[in-house]
C-alpha cells in the first residue's frame, strides 16, 4: 500500500518537475544541451521507476504502532518550534526548552530534563561561541539589557 501511494506521488513529482523544467530556456547563446535537458531527463527517469513500484509493491512498510505517532508528532513540532524561537529567545533559553520537551519524550523526569538542559545549553554556548568562535543568537528579547 505504502509503495503504491509513493508510486503515485513520485509520478506527480516527475510531472511537476518536468513541467517546471520545460520552462528553463534562454534566449541567448548556450551550450548544446542548455539548462533544461538534465532536469527533464531526471524527471523522465523517475517515470519507469514509479511504474515499477506500482506494479511490484513490497509486502508492507514498517510503520510504527499508532501510539508512537504522538511522540513523533511532538518531535517534528519540537524541531520546527526550536527553529522559530532560536533567534527571538536566544540559543540558551531555546535549547533548554527544546531539551525539556525532548528528554520527556525519552521518559526523563521533568527536573532531570530541566537541569541537564540548562547545564548542557550553557556548556555548548561556551564551547561553540567562546571556544570555537561560531555565532549563536543571544536572543532578541534580551537585547535591551545589553
Amino acid at each position: 500500500m505504502s509503495d503504491r501511494v509513493t508510486a503515485v506521488l513520485l509520478l506527480l513529482l516527475a510531472m511537476g518537475f518536468g513541467y517546471a523544467g520545460w520552462q528553463f530556456t534562454t534566449s541567448f547563446f548556450s551550450d548544446p544541451l542548455g539548462p533544461r535537458a538534465v532536469p527533464l531527463a531526471t524527471a523522465a527517469s523517475l517515470v519507469p521507476l514509479a511504474v515499477y513500484l506500482w506494479i511490484r509493491p513490497e509486502q508492507k512498510a514498517d510503520w510504527p504502532p499508532g501510539r508512537t505517532w504522538l511522540p513523533l508528532g511532538i518531535g517534528v513540532v519540537g524541531f520546527v518550534a526550536y527553529a522559530l524561537v532560536l533567534e527571538p529567545l536566544g540559543f540558551v533559553l531555546a535549547t533548554t526548552l527544546f531539551f525539556i520537551v525532548f528528554s520527556r519524550l525519552f521518559e526523563a523526569k521533568l527536573w532531570q530534563g530541566t537541569l541537564t538542559g540548562v547545564l548542557l545549553s550553557a556548556a555548548l554556548y561556551v564551547v561553540f561561541v567562546w571556544g570555537l568562535d561560531l555565532y549563536l543568537p543571544t536572543g532578541q528579547i534580551f537585547e535591551r539589557f545589553f
Binding site: 548556450s30 551550450d31 511490484r56 512498510a61 522559530l84 532560536l86 525519552f106
Partner: protein
C-alpha cells in the same frame, strides 16, 4: 626511493602539533561516533564541516580530521555490536554474528581485543595500499575526459543503488530524488535559476550540510523517538581485553586476506565498508570454517569483518582523491567539503597537493596506532559512554546538529529545511529506501551535468562522444551489468552476500543507514 621521501615529508606535516591534535580528536570522535548507535561517520563529518570552516582550518588539517572520524568509526562500531548486539554502524552488522555470541559466552574481552587488532591490521595495511596505488591510479585517471567522467558518475550511481538496499529500484529512486535536489539553484552553465520558486535562499542551491544532517541525524532522532519505549538493552560484562597467542595465530591469515579484500572492495564505487565486511565474513566462512563454528562465537568471525571494514576506508579514499568521484555517502560528504574550499580532487590532485596527500597518509599511520591504544587498554572508558541515557544523548545530538546547520548561513530557514529533510528521510527509511544515494547524487549531480554538457559542447552536440573511447564503452558495459544483474536475478548483492543468520540483524530498525 620516491615513496619513502614523500612519506617522510608527509610525517613532517602530520607531526605538526595542530595536525597531530586533530588526528587524535578525529579518531577519538570517530570511535565514539562509531560506537553510539544512530550516529555514523556521515553525521559526524557533516556536523563538523561548518565548524572547521568557521575555524578556517587548512584543507590538509581538515582532511586529517575527517579521515580520522571515518576510520575511527570503523574501530568504535564493534564495541556496541559486541557488548549490546546493537551495531554502531551498518558495517559492523557482520561482526555481531560471532562478536555478540562471544560476549554472551563471557568472552567479550577477547572479542573486543581481536576486533581492535583486526581493525589495526586492516587499517594499516590499507594505508600501505593507498600510499602505493593512489598515485598509480592518478596517472591512469588522466585518460578520463568529460565523457568518461559522465559515464563513471552514472556507474557510481547504479552501483550504489544496487549495493545499498534490499530493493534496487528504491535505490535508484533515492538517487533520482538526490539528482532533483541537486538541480535546485542557479544553473552553472547559463546562470538562470532552476526550481528556486523565487526564493533567494535557494539561489545558491541546497547546502549539502543541511541536507545531510536532515537525512541522517534528524531522521535518526525520529527513529529513536519511535523506539524510545523499547527499553534499554542489557550490556554484557567486558572482562579482560586480551587474546591468547593461539587465537592470534588462528586469526592471522584471516585478517591479512580480509584486509586485502576489504581494500579492493573499498576502491569499487558503491561498495563500501558494509559490503566489504559481509564479503570477508562469507569468504572466510568458506575458507577456514571447517568445523562450522562461524556464528557460534568463532573469534575468526570477528577478525574477518573488522579487518575488512577498516581496510575499505582507505580503499574508498582512492577514487575520491584520484578521480574526484566518491563511491559512498561518507566520501561524498568529504568531497562536498573539499569542493566548498574550491579544491577539486582529480587526476592531478595528488601531484599538485603532495603535502595534503602525504600528510593524510602519514596521519593515518599515526591515527591507527592511536586507535589501537584507545581501543585496547582504554576500551573500558568508552564503554562508560554507552551508559549515558538516551534522554541526554538524543536531544544533545539534535542540539549539536542545530548548531552546525545554523552555523552554515545563520538562518532559521535552513533549520526548517533540515527538519523537512529529516521527515522525508524518516519516511524513506521506514519504507526501506536507502538514504546514502540521495547524498551521493546531491554532491555528484552538478559534476555529472557539467561533464555531460562539457563533453557535448566539445563535440558540438554529437552524442556519439559518450561512446567514443574504449574506456567509456567499458564503463557503459559495467553500468548495464550493474542494472541488469539485480533485476534479472531478483536479488541484490546484499542479500546474496549476507550470511544466513544476518537477516534477523539486517531487518532491524536500529541499524543506521549505510555510510
Amino acid at each position: 626511493m620516491d615513496v619513502i621521501q614523500s612519506l617522510l615529508g608527509g610525517f613532517s606535516i602530520a607531526l605538526q602539533p595542530l595536525n597531530l591534535f586533530l588526528a587524535f580528536i578525529g579518531v577519538l570522535l570517530g570511535t565514539v561516533i562509531g560506537m553510539l548507535p544512530g550516529i555514523g561517520p556521515i553525521n559526524g563529518i557533516a556536523i563538523l564541516i561548518p565548524i572547521t570552516f568557521a575555524l578556517a582550518l587548512n584543507p590538509t588539517s581538515m582532511l586529517i580530521l575527517f579521515a580520522g572520524i571515518y576510520y575511527g568509526s570503523q574501530y568504535g562500531n564493534s564495541i556496541s555490536t559486541i557488548l549490546l548486539n546493537v551495531p554502531g554502524t551498518s558495517s559492523s552488522v557482520a561482526t555481531a554474528l560471532d562478536g555478540y555470541e562471544m560476549s554472551k559466552q563471557g568472552r567479550a574481552g577477547p572479542a573486543l581485543a581481536i576486533s581492535a587488532i583486526a581493525s589495526f591490521i586492516g587499517g594499516t595495511l590499507a594505508v600501505v595500499g593507498l600510499m602505493f596505488f593512489a598515485p598509480l591510479l592518478a596517472q591512469w585517471a588522466i585518460e578520463f575526459g568529460p565523457a568518461e567522467y559522465f559515464v563513471l558518475i552514472i556507474f557510481t550511481f547504479s552501483m550504489l543503488s544496487a549495493l545499498t538496499g534490499k530493493n534496487f529500484v528504491k535505490g535508484l529512486i533515492a538517487t533520482v530524488f538526490g539528482l532533483m535536489l541537486a538541480t535546485i539553484g542557479l544553473d552553472p552553465g547559463t546562470g538562470i535559476p532552476r526550481y528556486t520558486f523565487g526564493m533567494l535562499e535557494l539561489y545558491d542551491g541546497l547546502d549539502f550540510v543541511v541536507v545531510t544532517i536532515g537525512f541522517f541525524a534528524v531522521s535518526e532522532v525520529f527513529m529513536l523517538i519511535e523506539q524510545s519505549r523499547a527499553g534499554q538493552e542489557t550490556m554484557q560484562k567486558v572482562g579482560r581485553v586480551m587474546i591468547s597467542g593461539k587465537e592470534f595465530a588462528a586469526s592471522w591469515w584471516v585478517m591479512i586476506r580480509s584486509s586485502v579484500l576489504g581494500f579492493l572492495v573499498g576502491v569499487l564505487p558503491g561498495a563500501g565498508a558494509t559490503i566489504a565486511s559481509f564479503m570477508a565474513y562469507s569468504v572466510e566462512q568458506r575458507i577456514v570454517d571447517r568445523d562450522k563454528t562461524f556464528g557460534a562465537g568463532d573469534i575468526r568471525g570477528v577478525a574477518a569483518p573488522e579487518s575488512a571494514n577498516n581496510a575499505s576506508v582507505s580503499g574508498a579514499l582512492i577514487p575520491l582523491l584520484t578521480l574526484g568521484v566518491p563511491g559512498s555517502g561518507t566520501t561524498a560528504v568529504i568531497l562536498g567539503a573539499l569542493l566548498a574550499l574550491n579544491l577539486t580532487p582529480g587526476p592531478l590532485f595528488i601531484s599538485q597537493n603532495p603535502d595534503l596527500f602525504w600528510g593524510l597518509v602519514a596521519s593515518m599511520y599515526i591515527g591507527n596506532v592511536m586507535l589501537l591504544v584507545l581501543n585496547l587498554p582504554l576500551v573500558g572508558v568508552f564503554v562508560k559512554i554507552l551508559l549515558v541515557p538516551r534522554w541526554i544523548l538524543v536531544p544533545a545530538v539534535a542540539t549539536i546538529s542545530y548548531i552546525a546547520v545554523y552555523a552554515v548561513n545563520s538562518s532559521s530557514f535552513d533549520l526548517i529545511l533540515m527538519t523537512g529533510f529529516g521527515v522525508v528521510g524518516y519516511l524513506m527509511r521506514k519504507m526501506a529506501y536507502p538514504v546514502a544515494p540521495v547524498i551521493l547524487a546531491l554532491v555528484l549531480g552538478p559534476l555529472m551535468e557539467t561533464n555531460l554538457r562539457r563533453a557535448l559542447s566539445l563535440a558540438d552536440g554529437d552524442w556519439t562522444i559518450l561512446f567514443s573511447s574504449p574506456l567509456a564503452i567499458g564503463l557503459w558495459v559495467m553500468v548495464v551489468l550493474s542494472i541488469a544483474l539485480p533485476i534479472l536475478t531478483r536479488t541484490t548483492p546484499v542479500d546474496a552476500l549476507a550470511p544466513k543468520d544476518a537477516d534477523k540483524t539486517l531487518d532491524r530498525d536500529d541499524v543506521p543507514p549505510h555510510s
